[in-house]
């Protein structure tokens, strides 16, 4: 490829990148407060999400991306109608398990106690699909498609440029976000 062609290609790529930068971002943070859900329920879901994906040295936790609101909105808008009941049922069961095991509601527990409650709940046999799956699935979706999740917990490269078929994986390397 000659220089003129190379420059022209670069200009094409730069034009697209500028367009990309000008797009509005973070619609995830702008979700309306859900109707029919109390602030306590939303806060409880956020706390559960943040227990599944907590903040670590390299990236924030799911609580930092309003995960409770995302779970409610996504369930309401995208899932089967009965999934709302599944979600509420899971919250009741998690709350009951917290009180039974540690004599306090979930938000009053330490991080280690919350993890124990959720680990036991996930392992408890259920008839049919486990309600915890819905929460976990949506926590992972909401977090890993959020800006902090995609860019800090994973590696996000919107314009890779090419495909390399053989790349040595270093011990610290994370997965690609897309």
């Amino acid at each position: 490829m000659n220089r003129r062609e190379a420059l022209r290609q670069t200009a094409l790529a730069a034009g697209a990148a500028a367009l990309w930068a000008s797009l509005p971002a973070r619609t995830w943070a702008a979700l309306a407060a859900p109707a029919d859900w109390s602030a306590d329920d939303e806060a409880l879901l956020t706390l559960i999400g943040d227990t599944i994906i907590p903040a670590t040295a390299t990236s924030p936790g799911a609580g930092s991306v309003a995960i409770g609101r995302f779970i409610i909105t996504q369930t309401t808008d995208c899932y089967l109608l009965q999934s709302i009941d599944t979600l509420r049922h899971a919250l009741r069961e998690i709350d009951a398990a917290s009180r039974q095991r540690f004599s306090h509601p979930f938000p009053a527990l330490s991080v280690a106690e919350r993890e124990q409650v959720l680990t036991a709940y996930e392992a408890a046999p259920q008839q049919g699909a486990h309600p915890f799956r819905l929460i976990k699935e949506l926590t992972l979706l909401g977090y890993f498609t959020s800006e902090p999740g995609a860019t800090q917990a994973l590696r996000y490269d919107p314009i890779p440029g090419t495909y390399l078929g053989s790349v040595k994986l270093a011990p610290t390397d994370r997965s690609w976000a897309l």
Binding site: P54, T56, P158, Y163, W176
Partner: protein
């Protein structure tokens, strides 16, 4: 010209050529006819979509989508057919028709996936492009279910013609079953794919594992840069429209080339109701158009008409083009119009895990996958079913999406699922189906669409041959994955409806004999030679290849013939 209309305003409504449809074949017809000097009107039933400007989601991040690119339930419920398409989601829904706006009647279940806009489905196609081989053109006659009126050698230069302009990446594999084209550099295989290639080709001579061939600019050539198209950036967000113009579409490539001649008139929102037949000349004189918005009827006139409305819509259009000479539809002297519709059998797939290769990864998102050209019944009949299948496959490492039901919470869980998981492999089939007379489309006797045009009735289904071919693929796939050393092999029959392959073909098939076919070897209606059909409707059989490249080559070839015949005064 004998077909000059005399009504007021007719002059502005008269062109040298009319192209019905602006998708992958219509775009090619427009480019070739305009470049040959013809003033060409392109009629598109949908809205305009301008390259780059009308790709609203192309550069959005995952967090820019309200539902993170999942389709809201209301959209799913309102579009029970479109939602089945793998490419339909929050980022692409605007390029698919709304099911309730475009009803059709399913005599037997058929998922009709449609994109009504300038560029048609060329915006949302899968971009895999392989030439047919001589075995595919000769197959129907050998197996006694049809006859192609052209050979591979006749089409080969036209494959080259469209490949150079479109830009096709691929490896020179030297296979008679899948001839090489004019290739840009191939994409790379990853380490597990290379491993699988070695194991499969070692264990099964004659089963070739090759890199996919696709319409992506891996190394743009001067003719592509002249189209303002740049190098593929390996984003694999193609179904949103490519702002780099790196994959081939009508919007990025052929329509701009046609417009650059100054001879193109592109008219969106133009639903073609019928092709008009002039009994005095024995030719088509023009088309009758219903404005999609105002629903007013208009007529346009030309000496040559190309029907590129997409396979089933071209069938519908010809069936609805009735006249004293053709009471059963244009060119339909024998009741075969709308019959011998076929498709690709996509029902079978397999998945498996592959152990090891833990320090190997990849970067970027490749817009193609490995393939295996058909190895069944190639040179002679060998199995208890007719024809064969192409296999697509690939390997990748699990991410959080695949791993999300693995147990655990907290920091250790987060650390685990943010790292590449185990390797997995998948395989899927693209099987040839044999065109059957009973697999057909027809016009509804009583139901009409919003533009007063009869709805299409689809009566298309699988047969016993398809079931046998599916079972063979699943068995061969299993043995190949075992040879790779894969574990947890799972075979699946999706039982998906015909149509979801989005490779419907036929109904206006080509052939030598006017008694058994609709189109001659130049894609002209035998009985009305200034009408050319060069979209999927013209196909005599389906092959095992992705069909668009063949539609492109047939279109360019037919356009050149149309121009030559016009010059000779034959049209």
């Amino acid at each position: 010209m004998t077909n000059h209309p005399t009504t007021p305003g007719a002059r502005e409504h008269t062109f040298d050529a009319i192209v019905i449809g602006s998708g992958i074949s219509g775009g090619w017809a427009a480019k070739e006819l305009c470049e040959a000097g013809l003033r060409t009107l392109v009629l598109e039933r949908g809205r305009d979509v301008k390259h780059r400007d009308d790709y609203p989601t192309a550069l959005k991040n995952p967090w820019d989508f309200s539902h993170r690119n999942k389709t809201p339930r209301a959209v799913v419920t309102a579009n029970p057919i479109a939602k089945k398409c793998y490419a339909f989601d929050e980022a692409t829904a605007h390029f698919f028709v709304k099911d309730d706006e475009h009803p059709y009647v399913q005599d037997r279940p058929f998922d009709w996936i449609r994109g009504y806009q300038v560029g048609g489905k060329s915006l949302i196609w899968a971009r895999q492009t392989q030439r047919w081989s001589r075995f595919d053109f000769e197959g129907p006659a050998r197996d006694g279910f049809g006859e192609w009126p052209i050979t591979y050698d006749e089409l080969a230069p036209w494959y080259s013609h469209v490949e150079r302009f479109a830009g096709i990446s691929g490896n020179y594999d030297g296979l008679e079953t899948l001839p090489d084209g004019e290739f840009l550099p191939a994409w790379e295989m990853n380490d597990v794919e290379k491993h699988a290639q070695g194991k499969i080709m070692g264990a099964f001579p004659g089963r070739h594992v090759i890199q996919g061939r696709c319409a992506h600019l891996t190394a743009p050539q001067p003719q592509h840069l002249a189209q303002n198209r740049g190098q593929c950036q390996a984003r694999n967000l193609c179904y949103r429209g490519c702002p780099f113009g790196a994959y081939f579409s009508s919007n990025s490539a052929t329509l701009p080339a046609a417009a650059a001649t100054g001879r193109l008139t592109l008219r969106p929102h133009s639903v073609v109701e019928s092709i008009l037949h002039d009994s005095a000349t024995g030719r088509a004189s023009g088309v009758r158009v219903i404005d999609a918005v105002t629903k007013q009827a208009t007529e346009f006139f030309a000496r040559v008409i190309f029907a590129n409305a997409s396979c089933l819509n071209t069938n519908l259009l010809l069936l609805n083009s009735t006249s004293a000479r053709f009471p059963a539809g244009l060119g339909n002297d024998h009741g075969l119009l709308g019959r011998y519709v076929a498709f690709h059998n996509y029902r079978g797939s397999l998945s498996a895990s592959v152990e090891g290769f833990e320090d190997s990864y990849y970067s970027g998102r490749r817009p193609t996958q490995l393939m295996m050209p058909n190895f069944r019944n190639v040179r002679k009949q060998e199995t208890d079913f007719q024809r064969g299948y192409m296999v697509f496959f690939g390997a990748s490492r699990a991410g959080w999406q695949q791993d999300n039901y693995s147990p655990g919470v907290g920091a250790a869980f987060k650390d685990r699922i943010t790292r590449p998981g185990p390797w997995g492999m998948y395989m899927m089939m693209q099987g040839e189906t044999v065109p059957r007379k009973e697999n057909h489309v027809r016009l509804s006797a009583d139901r009409k669409d919003a533009w007063g045009i009869p709805q299409l009735v689809t009566s298309i289904g699988y047969d016993d041959n398809d079931e046998k071919l599916l079972r063979d693929f699943l068995a061969r796939g299993q043995e190949m994955l075992e040879a790779v050393g894969a574990k947890k092999i799972t075979a699946r029959d999706s039982k998906q409806n015909p149509g979801l392959d989005i490779h419907e073909m036929g109904g206006v098939r080509m052939g030598h004999d006017p008694k058994t076919s609709l189109l001659n070897r130049w894609n002209q209606l035998h009985a009305c030679t200034n009408v050319f059909v060069t979209d999927g409707a013209c196909m005599t059989s389906t092959g095992t290849q992705n069909p668009s490249l063949t539609f492109m080559a047939l279109t360019a070839r037919a356009a050149q013939h149309a121009v030559a015949e016009l010059k000779k005064g034959n049209l």
